[in-house]
C-alpha cells in the first residue's frame, strides 16, 4: 500500500511552503516542495523606475535580509554604471551585511531551529526553562540590529546606503560604541556555538554541489568568484551557468547550475572558505567536532553558529580600524548598461542584475535569492533522505523532514502557516 505525506503549511520558516510526498513499497514516488505564497513580481515593478530607486523597492522582498537586497541592488546598479565605490563605502556595506548575518542567524538558530531539537513547539514555550539560552539569542539579535540601525537609520529596510556612497555617515563615536556593543556579545556567540555543537543531528549526505562566493582576500562578503570545490566562475558570467525554471505547483522558481542542483548558505561558506575564518571561529569549529567538508545539510545549523562567530569577529575588526572620513555621495552620470551584484547574505549568495538605458531608467531586472537556489536541492534531499527513516513513527519522520527543511533556513517570504498533516 502506498502512502502520502502532505505538509500543507510548514511553520517556523520565513514564508509559505508545502510538501507533498508519495511513498510506495518503500520508495518515494513523488516529492514536490513548493512555495505557495502570492507572487509579488518585484523584477517587473522596478522596470521603468530610476536607477536610484531599485534598492528601496527590492528591499521589500524580505524583511530579515533587507540589508542584503539593498546592498545587492546597489552593487548591481553601480556595476552597470561602471562606478567603483570608495573603500569607506565598501567597508560600511560589509559591516552592515555582517550585522545582518548576526541578527538573522541568531533569529533562525534559536526561534526557528532550536525548538525542534529540544522538544518544544516554539522558543516562547521554551522560555521558562531556557531563559539563559534565549537571552543569548536576544543579545545577539539586539546588537546585530543596533549595528544596522547605527549605519543605516533603520534595522529593517535600511535607508542610508545608496548608489555612490552613504547618505548619512556614522560618527566616529558611534563606530566606537558599536565596537563595544559587538565585543559584549562574544560570550553569547560562543554559547551559541557550544549549544548547537552539542545537539544530535540526523545522518545524511546531500548530493548537491556546495557554492558560495570565494574571495582570495577574506571570508567572502561582497566580493569573490562563485565557487564550489570543482567549479568557479565570475559573477558577471552568472547567466551562462545559472538558469531558472518554474513548476505549476510552486510560486518560487527553481534554479540550477548547468542542469545540476546546488546549494548555498553558511555550510557552503564553511566548506569553501573555512581556512579564512577568524581565530575564535576556528577554535569553535574545532571544538564543535564538525569535520569539513560536511555534506550533511542538517549541519548548516552548526555552520550558522560558527559563521556568526566569524561575522562578529570580522565586524569588531572593522570597527577597530575604521576611521570615518567625511565623504559626499558621488554623483554618477547615468549611462546604458547591464550590471550584476552578488552578496554572501545569511542564507547564501544573493544575485541582483539590472539593465539601464541612457537616462538611467531600469529596463530589465533579475533577482535570484538563496532560497530559490536551494529549493531543488531541498526537495531532492527529502526524496533521498526519507527511505532511510521509513521504519520510524510517522511523527518522527515528519519531524526529521521539517528539521531538514528548517536547517536550510528557507525564506519563502512570509505567509500564514498551519501545520496540517495528511497520512493516507
Amino acid at each position: 500500500m502506498g502512502k502520502t505525506i502532505t505538509l500543507n503549511h510548514i511553520t517556523k520558516i520565513e514564508g509559505h511552503a508545502k510538501l507533498e510526498l508519495g511513498i510506495d513499497k518503500g520508495k518515494v514516488k513523488t516529492c514536490k516542495l513548493s512555495a505557495v505564497e502570492g507572487s509579488r513580481y518585484f523584477e517587473g515593478l522596478v522596470r521603468g523606475r530610476k536607477y536610484y530607486e531599485a534598492h528601496e523597492m527590492t528591499s521589500r522582498i524580505c524583511g530579515v535580509c533587507s540589508c542584503a537586497h539593498v546592498i545587492a541592488a546597489i552593487s548591481a546598479i553601480e556595476n552597470a554604471l561602471g562606478y567603483n565605490p570608495t573603500e569607506q563605502t565598501k567597508t560600511l556595506r560589509v559591516l552592515m551585511t555582517l550585522g545582518e548575518r548576526i541578527r538573522s542567524h541568531a533569529t533562525h538558530l534559536y526561534f526557528l531551529a532550536l525548538p525542534d531539537y529540544v522538544g518544544y513547539e516554539s522558543a516562547l514555550a521554551m522560555a521558562p526553562k531556557y531563559k539563559p539560552q534565549l537571552k543569548n539569542a536576544l543579545n545577539l539579535m539586539k546588537v546585530g540590529n543596533a549595528v544596522i540601525k547605527t549605519l543605516a537609520a533603520r534595522d529593517l529596510h535600511p535607508v542610508s546606503a545608496t548608489i555612490g556612497g552613504w547618505l548619512k555617515l556614522p560618527t566616529q563615536q558611534q563606530v566606537d560604541e558599536m565596537r563595544v556593543q559587538l565585543e559584549s556579545i562574544r560570550k553569547d556567540a560562543r554559547e551559541a556555538c557550544k549549544l548547537f555543537s552539542s545537539l544530535k543531528y540526523p545522518d545524511f549526505e546531500s548530493k548537491g554541489e556546495w557554492f558560495s562566493l570565494v574571495d582570495e582576500k577574506e571570508y567572502a562578503v561582497l566580493d569573490g568568484k562563485f565557487s564550489s570545490k570543482d567549479n568557479s566562475f565570475e559573477k558577471s558570467e552568472y547567466r551562462k551557468f545559472i538558469s531558472e525554471y518554474h513548476e505549476l505547483y510552486s510560486s518560487a522558481n527553481f534554479v540550477v547550475r548547468e542542469n545540476h542542483r546546488y546549494t548555498v548558505g553558511a555550510l557552503s561558506r564553511l566548506n569553501n572558505s573555512h581556512k579564512q575564518l577568524s581565530v575564535n571561529a576556528k577554535k569553535m569549529l574545532k571544538e564543535s567536532g564538525l569535520k569539513l567538508p560536511s555534506y550533511n545539510p542538517y549541519h548548516n545549523v552548526i555552520a550558522q553558529a560558527i559563521d556568526m562567530m566569524h561575522s562578529l569577529d570580522h565586524a569588531i575588526e572593522i570597527c577597530k580600524n575604521l576611521k570615518i572620513v567625511p565623504e559626499e555621495v558621488q554623483k554618477i552620470q547615468p549611462r546604458s548598461g547591464t550590471g550584476v551584484g552578488a552578496v554572501e547574505v545569511p542564507r547564501g549568495t544573493l544575485w541582483h542584475e539590472y539593465t539601464l538605458d541612457d537616462l538611467g531608467t531600469i529596463t530589465n531586472a533579475n533577482i535570484i535569492t538563496p532560497t530559490a537556489q536551494n529549493l531543488l536541492n531541498m526537495q531532492e534531499d527529502i526524496r533521498e533522505f526519507v527511505p532511510s527513516v521509513l521504519k520510524k513513527k510517522k511523527e518522527d519522520i515528519i519531524m526529521d523532514i521539517e528539521k531538514l527543511i528548517r536547517s536550510y533556513d528557507p525564506c519563502f517570504s512570509c505567509s500564514a502557516h498551519f501545520l496540517e498533516v495528511k497520512w493516507v
Partner: protein, 280 residues
Amino acid sequence: MSKKNTSAKSEKLNVGVYGITGCAGCQLSLIFNEDEILDVVNLVNLKAFPFIKEVNIDEQFDCVILEGLVADKGDLETVKKLRKNTKMLVSLGACACTGCVPAYRHFTLKENYEHLLYKKMEEIEDVDPTPIDEHVQVDYYIPGCPPDKKEIITFIKSVAKGIVPRPYQSPVCVECRRNGNTCLLDSGKPCLGPITTGGCDSVCINGGFECWGCRGPTKDMNLDLMIKMLRDRGFDDKFIQDRMRTFVGLKLPMLEKVMKPGEKPDKLQTQFYGEKIYYG
C-alpha cells in the same frame, strides 16, 4: 516526540499574529523588541503565531494582528477566515494597510511584468494585489514599512490592558523638525513628508533619505501643494506619480485627476484609516 506548549490558558486576551503574502518584516519587528518580547507575550494568550510557533489554534480570537497583502487565493481565504474568527482585526504594516510596493503593480505597465507570469495551481493563482480592508473590515491600522517596533509592542500592551489606542494624524514633518533635520525638500530631494502620516519619528529622514510615504497620506493633506513643490524642484509628472504610488498608490485614487491641468476634484481627503490609525 510530543511537543511541549507552555502557553497557559487563562482570562487573558486571545491573540493571534499572522502573515499572508509579504516580507515577514513586520512580524520580525515585533520579535526584535529584544528586551520586552518574552514578557509581553505573557500579557496575552498567544494562541497563534505560525512564524515562530508550531502549535497554532486558529479560532476564537479577541485580536488578530495580520501582516501582508492579499495576492493569491490562499491569502483571500485566510483573511476571510481570520475576520470571522476574531473580534478585532489589526492591519500590521504597509502591505496590510495600503498594499505597499507589491500593489504598485496596478500602476505599472503590464508589459513590465507579464514576462514573469506563468500558470500556477488553482490555490496559488494570483488575485489583484490589495490591502486587507479591500476585502474585510479592519478595526485598527499600524502603518509603516515596517512600523516602528515599539509601536507594535505598545499596541499589544495597550490592548492587553483594555486601553483603546489613540489616533495620530500629524505629518512626518512635525517629528522631522523636532529631530532637527535639515529639510530635504529645501535641498531639492523629492520628500513626501508633508503629506505622510507621522509616528515613525521621521526615521528615514534622520538617516538622510527622503520620505516615500510608506505610512500613508494624512487626512488633511495638501496634495496640490505637494505636487507643486515637486514640480518646482524639476521632477516630471511620471516621476511624481510613480513615487507617490510606490507604497500607497491604491489609497491615492484622486492622484491622476489632481495632476491634470484645470481639474479640481471636490474631495481630496482619503477615506483610508479614518479615526482608527494607531500611534503608540
